[in-house]
């Protein structure tokens, strides 16, 4: 599914890389714990999170995550947007809660890859 469809589904706001709305996302991960993202989310190109700090962007970069969605109405800071823009990472935000945002996207066909017990 293209990011622009994802944006529509969660009525998201685009904060960076508006020219990359055609990235195709197949699977995602929802987490507030970056340690978990580092350990259990090797295959996902999208992250949904309620955490807002620059290390979210750095973690995304290391994990080849191309799209980050901030849930519960949280917005990335100017510093984070600058970092994400430089690294080509799309930042979105939505008013929806983590559960609802994930539910909508899962129902629309986005999978969740990776396991908690390798």
């Amino acid at each position: 599914m293209e990011v622009k469809q994802i944006k529509e589904l969660i009525t998201g706001e685009v904060h960076t890389c508006a020219d990359r709305m055609d990235i195709v996302i197949k699977s995602a991960c929802g987490a507030d714990l970056m340690s978990d993202v580092m350990a259990f989310s090797k295959e996902n190109a999208m992250l949904l999170t309620g955490l807002v700090n620059p290390q979210v962007i750095r973690t995304a970069e290391m994990m080849d995550i191309q799209v980050v969605v901030f849930v519960r109405g949280k917005k990335p800071t100017a510093e984070m947007c600058e970092l994400a823009e430089e690294k080509g990472i799309v930042l979105l935000s939505t008013e929806l809660t983590m559960f609802t945002a994930c539910g909508i996207l899962y129902k629309a066909g986005i999978a969740g890859k990776g396991s908690g017990c390798e």
Binding site: D32, L33, S35, D36, P54, Q55, M62, M63
Partner: protein, 141 residues
């Protein structure tokens, strides 16, 4: 065999928002060299976790990176407080990270085991009050 590229990075202690700069640089280097994406990801994960540890636990330090024809060798080291019980520190879930680090999404105690998982060779040396050295080797092919 001599290395193709040799780099050294400072890992500053006091700025958590900069943690990952060294790893990000190495990532770019490996991408330019056309290294396999899976190898780049394993290297990124291992080095970023080691870098975070130096910032969070080690009072800052350095990283030395050497890229050979067939492998990448990374040494991340600090002269911080060191680790008393290495076996315990390696256990998944063990962490002495302070609360503010947890609030930033880190400190789940999975870093060292994650470094080991993503490396082909992993050596952790540490001595209380002297510092910590993490050696990571990852084969390119």
């Amino acid at each position: 065999m001599s290395s193709i590229i040799k780099k050294e990075y400072d890992i500053p202690a006091n700025d958590f928002s900069l943690a990952g700069e060294a790893s990000s640089n190495v990532r770019k280097l490996l991408t330019q060299l056309g290294v396999y994406p899976t190898v780049i990801k394993r290297t990124s994960i291992a080095m970023y976790e080691a870098e975070l540890n130096v910032v969070i636990h080690g009072n800052g330090g350095k990283a030395r990176v050497e890229i050979f024809e067939d492998k990448i060798e990374i040494l991340v080291y600090d002269e911080g407080p060191g680790i008393e019980d290495i076996e315990l520190a390696m256990k998944e879930g063990y962490s002495t990270a302070p609360d503010f680090i947890r609030e930033m999404g880190f400190g789940a105690g999975m870093g060292l085991s994650n470094i080991k998982k993503n490396s082909d060779r992993f050596v952790l040396e540490s001595e209380p009050n002297k510092g910590t050295r993490v050696y990571i080797t990852i084969y390119l092919y």
